[in-house]
Every structure is written in C-alpha cells, then in structure tokens.
Symmetry: C2
Subunit: 372 residues, 2 copies
C-alpha cells in the first residue's frame, strides 16, 4: 500500500478525494479529532469510530513526556496502545513547545524546554521530533517547525519561516520512508503572500507526501486566514493532500474547504464538549443555560449520536449542572459526530458540484438557529 | 404484570430467583449499580446495559434537590429522563439526610435539612419521601426510615428502630399501589438480635412487597454484619425478595448471598472506578501503581468489558496518570462488569447446588491474586 491522495471530484478550488495509507483509507475533506495523550478525551475508541471519524491526531509533546515514546514503541506503536488501528497523524511537538514561552530556549539546532508536568529538561530538534514520531508509528509525520508568534515584525516572520524551512529539510532527511506512511511539510510565512510563496517553493524543493498550512488561527482573524489560504493553496501541488493545522470552527472549516483544504484538526469540538458548548446544524448553544432545563427536545433532531437519539436537552443540562462525567461524555460524542456530519455534507456537495450553495445553506441554518 | 419474586433454586440459606416488575424481570441474586443523580457515574445507559445490569438505583435526596421530582415527573419519570427503561429502585433519602449531621433536625414527624448544594431548606417525612418516589416513578419504593447511627447506645438503637417502624407504617399508608410496582420495608435494630426480630415483626404486621436489611455496613465490621444477617434473614418471609442496603465489597456480597440476601447496591465499584481501583477475579489492584506501567496484560483476561478486551494495564495506568476521563470511564465499566459477572457466577452456583464450593474458590482466587 503506497501512501497517496487522489481526487474524486473538484468544485471550484475545493476537492473531494481519497487518501490511501498503511492504516486504511480516508475520504477527504476530513476532520481529525484530537487525541492529545493517546485518547480522544472523554470517548472510547469505539465511540470515536461510531462518529464516522477515520483518522485521529496525536501530540508528540504530550506523548514524549507521558507515557514516553520508547514505551509506546515497545507496545507496538500508538495504534495498538490506544486501540486505534486507523490512520494517526502526529504533530511534531513544535507548536506546544513554542507555547511554553518562559520554559524554553530556541537555537538554530532546536529547542530545549522544561516539562510542564515535572520541570524535567527535554530537547526537540528536527531529528529528535521525527524520530519520536517514528517510534509512535505515526501514519503521517509532521515536519518540525517553528510556529511563528503573532503578532510579529516582518523581519521576525521572515527569519522564523526561513528557519522552519531549514528544519523542514532536516526533518525530511531524518524521516524513514515506509510504504503507506507519509511526512508533511508545513508552510509558514505569517500573512505575507510573498513569504508564503517562498515557503511553498522551499518545501516543494524538498518534496513531501503532503503539505500543511501552519501559523494560522493564531489571532490573525478569519478574513486574514482565508486571504492567506487564497494566495497559498493554489501554489501547492494538486495531487498532494493539504492540511490546515489547528482549524477550527465549523465556519472556518467550510471556508477552508472552499479554498482547497483537505484536512483539518482542532480541539474545539472536544474541549467544547467538556464545557457544555454544543455545535449543531442550528448554531451553538450552551447547555448550562437555564433555558434548557425543561426542554424535552433533543439537542439536534437530525443527529444520530447517543445524546440526540436518547436524551433531552433538559437531561444534558442536568448532567452539566450536576457536574456528572456523563455530560462531557455525551456532548463530546455529539460535537465530534456533528463535525463528521459536517465534513460528510461538504464531501457530498463537492461531488454534486454544489458546494457553494451547500455552504450558504449551512451558514444560513447556523445564523437562523442562534437566536433560539 | 404483578410485582413478585419466585425462587428458582435454593442452596442452604441462599436462593436464586426471578423478580417480576412493571419494568421487566430481574434474576436474583442481583447487584444494582448506583445511579445517584440520574446517571451511573461515567457510564452511558447503553454501557450499563452492556455489563448485564438489569436494575439500577436512584437517590431521592439528590434527585429531589436537582433536577427536582416535579421536573422528572413532567418528563414521564426517571426511566425516561435517564434512558433506563428497566427497573429502578429509589432509596427514601433518609440515609443521605441523616449523614448531613450539622445540617438537619429530626423530629417525630420527619427531618428538616439544608441542601448541600445551596443551603436551601427542605423537609422529608414518610409521606413526602414516598410521594417523591412516586413522582420519580420508582419501580421499587423504599420506606422512609432513620438510619441508626453507629456506634449508639442500646436505648438509642431501640428508640431509633421504633421510630423507623412508625415511619414504615406511614410510608406504607402513603404508598400508591400500582401493578408491577412495589415498596420495601427496612429492618433496623443495629446488631441486637432481639431488636432486629421486633423490627421484622413490625414490618410483617404492615406488609410489604419486599424487605430490606438496613443499618449495616456502617462500621460494625463484616463479622457483626454477617451475624446480624444470620439472625434476621431467617425471620423474613421466604416468598419475598430481600435487599441488603449499601453492601458492599465482593466478599461482603458473597457472604450476603450465602445468608439468603437477593439484592445488593453499593457505590464501591463505581467510586473505585474513578479512583483507579480495579476489582477482578484475582483481587483488587490500583492502576496508578507504577508496576503497571509496562504491563501489556489485560486487567482480567476472563472479563469481556472494553477495558479488558481492548486495552493493556499499561494503557489504563497511563490514562489515570494523565488524568484522562477515559480512565474512570473504562474502569467503571470494568468494575460494574465484574460485579455483574460475580452475581452471575453466584446464581449459577446456587442453581447447581454448589454455592459453598464456588464461594470458597472465588475467595481463594482473590487471595492468590493479591500478591501479584
């Protein structure tokens, strides 16, 4: 099984396709639930599968600290360790390490940092990050990059992007190719079209199985993010998958798909599920709100998840008010199910050549629902 | 459907039988998982069903405070509210209210107390407690009693028991009989055989669909508890179900079954599941212990739950160390599955007439396993 992506249909800039991997096929556009520490929070692996999710994300930073990459390797990799035989994409740890502002020091070779768990010292370089992802048995390995801070001066964005490109080459050199496995390079360059173009050119010169757009959804706003996609995505090779890292809200995802993105990940649906925030076809709602306490309706009558098929909004409200674990369990299942249904609808619309109308109707339903 | 229990087999004092209710049949001896606030903590209703559990317990005290008995009644009862169409037994609230020592005042008519949630004032009497359980649509309603404190003087135990018997008659008078529903009286009297006998006589004079033994597992120790069962249970009518309230460890349950008890409930397996303590055929173990961190074995190879079929001890250890919700989710499923398997084994052994040998082998396996 060789790793690769093939288009099934296009609609404007958007594409529907199939990603083939050593761990199974993935229909795109796809949303990947985040399984930070070897579990999609508050869900069993069976429950994740039941939402329709086909690929999950793991975090190198968290897993290298606990339980450790060597331990996971001894268990035969992250797939076996967490009971997820399907594809797993791992980040490189760069993003989390950069967020440790006070706890890390950056040099040309890599980053030294202290664990947020016990203060112990660790180091990540392109070679180490790539090696850890190999031990984790990641289906898709991400290049180690510097996630450029925001806001930053033009000079900072340029020098950060250039370092990331040097690190991308080192990451590629450290990557051990195996059939059905791939490595993605990450485009940086902030919101500057010229820097983004230089970054794409540098990555294409190296050559990866897929390309990610990094450094967005960090505070620049949706308009700037979409504008950056519009100048960046057309430069990427049509025959390779494209991944917009850490994005986003349902509306961000619809816009990303319209601009040619194939893959997304975000903690929003899982994190929101633990804080009583529901994503639905009719917009978002907060289940802690007292207006739900007598509401016999399901959260979303069109949804097939356990929370919607079996329970009332009043019951979900009660669970969150009583701080019952079942509240986060059911709402995380719902939110991930909704995100999967959203992607399914987008794929179908691309195949029918009706993406823009579908996107407009989807947004209209969110807007109409928000006042309920 | 009339409410009733029928023996299928006896073995010494032990009985295997079938309880018929408006909400389905229950094979006894049975363990009832505790669903305090309208949810068995950390489990979906489907997951509870998958363990083999056939009846769950709800707590009047918690439910009357939040979400309130009237609200649950408007939703068609607790069965619909929590998606548990099977039988539900509710306690009377007496036990929880008595534990609020500083927050409650007791008089002959009932108890006034303050909510642990918001300090609001509430009152429970035999009539109110019985009415609330009616609104909850409890399949089995418990009489409102005073759980005698332990230790207590002989005079305190006697006067407390006598008040509970007066309250038992008022509870019976307040009970609205419906086909397939039942009400249980609660035997009190501490560890005094004469008081227990007087309490049984008082309850039989009133007449209930079943009888519970209360006021045990409050600090008297297993030997005193078993001795009290040995003088109390033989006085109870053979044709009615017998329920030992709030008990207990697997060993307590085996001993209770050997002494003629049919029904049990306890928070232990669910609470232990949230604190990394596992009950298995080979004794208990604490999954936070570092000795599990490289252990590829399942928790219990004979168990069919998700935690045992899909995961290693090392993974469960990792989940608890990382404070992942999935740890309590999986271990609660396991512990309830183990308790159900334990009851299944006891029922089968009674039917084969081999309960004592089965109990001895079960205890020997726990003892042999504890040093692993």
């Amino acid at each position: 099984m060789s790793f690769g992506w093939e288009a099934a249909a296009t609609d404007g800039a958007a594409r529907a396709g199939l990603l083939q991997t050593a761990h199974g096929a993935v229909s795109t556009p796809v949303f990947m639930p985040v399984g930070t520490a070897g579990t999609v929070k508050a869900m069993t692996a069976d429950q994740v599968r039941a939402t329709g999710a086909s690929v999950v994300l793991g975090n190198t930073y968290h897993l290298m600290l606990r339980p450790g990459a060597d331990r996971i390797e001894r268990f035969g990799g992250l797939h076996r360790f967490m009971d997820w035989p399907g594809p797993i994409l791992t980040d490189s740890g760069g993003f989390q390490v950069m967020s440790l502002s006070a706890l890390r020091t950056l040099d040309e070779d890599g980053v030294t940092f202290r664990s947020h768990l016990d203060g112990s010292a660790h180091r990540l370089t392109p070679e180490i990050a790539t090696g850890i992802q190999h031990k984790l048995d990641a289906t898709i390995t991400m290049a180690f990059d510097e996630c450029t801070k925001f806001p930053a001066t033009a000079e900072e964005v340029e020098s950060s992007m250039e370092r990331s490109m040097r690190w991308a080459r080192r990451s590629r050199d450290a990557f051990v190719a195996r059939p059905g496995y791939g490595q993605f390079g990450i485009v940086q360059g902030g919101v500057d079209p010229a820097l983004r173009a230089r970054s794409v050119a540098a990555l294409l010169d190296i050559g990866f199985e897929g390309y990610a757009v990094g450094g967005l959804a960090v505070g620049e706003g949706q308009a700037a993010m979409f504008a950056t996609l519009e100048v960046t995505v057309p430069l990427l090779p049509a025959e390779r998958p494209r991944y917009l890292m850490g994005v986003g809200t349902p509306d961000d995802i619809v816009g990303g798909v319209q601009r040619g993105i194939d893959m997304f990940d975000c903690v929003m649906p899982t994190r929101a599920g633990r804080t009583a925030r529901a994503y639905t076809r009719h917009g978002t709602l907060n289940l802690r709100n007292a207006r739900h306490q007598e509401d016999e309706r399901p959260l979303d009558p069109a949804c097939g998840c356990t929370a919607c098929v079996r329970h009332s909004r009043a019951y979900l409200h009660h669970l969150f008010r009583a701080d019952e674990i079942l509240g986060p369990m059911l709402l995380t299942q719902h939110n991930i199910t909704y995100y999967q249904d959203l992607m399914h609808g987008l794929r179908d619309a691309i195949c029918r050549g009706e993406l823009n109308a579908h996107a407009a109707a989807t947004r209209a339903a969110w807007a109409a629902g928000e006042s309920r």
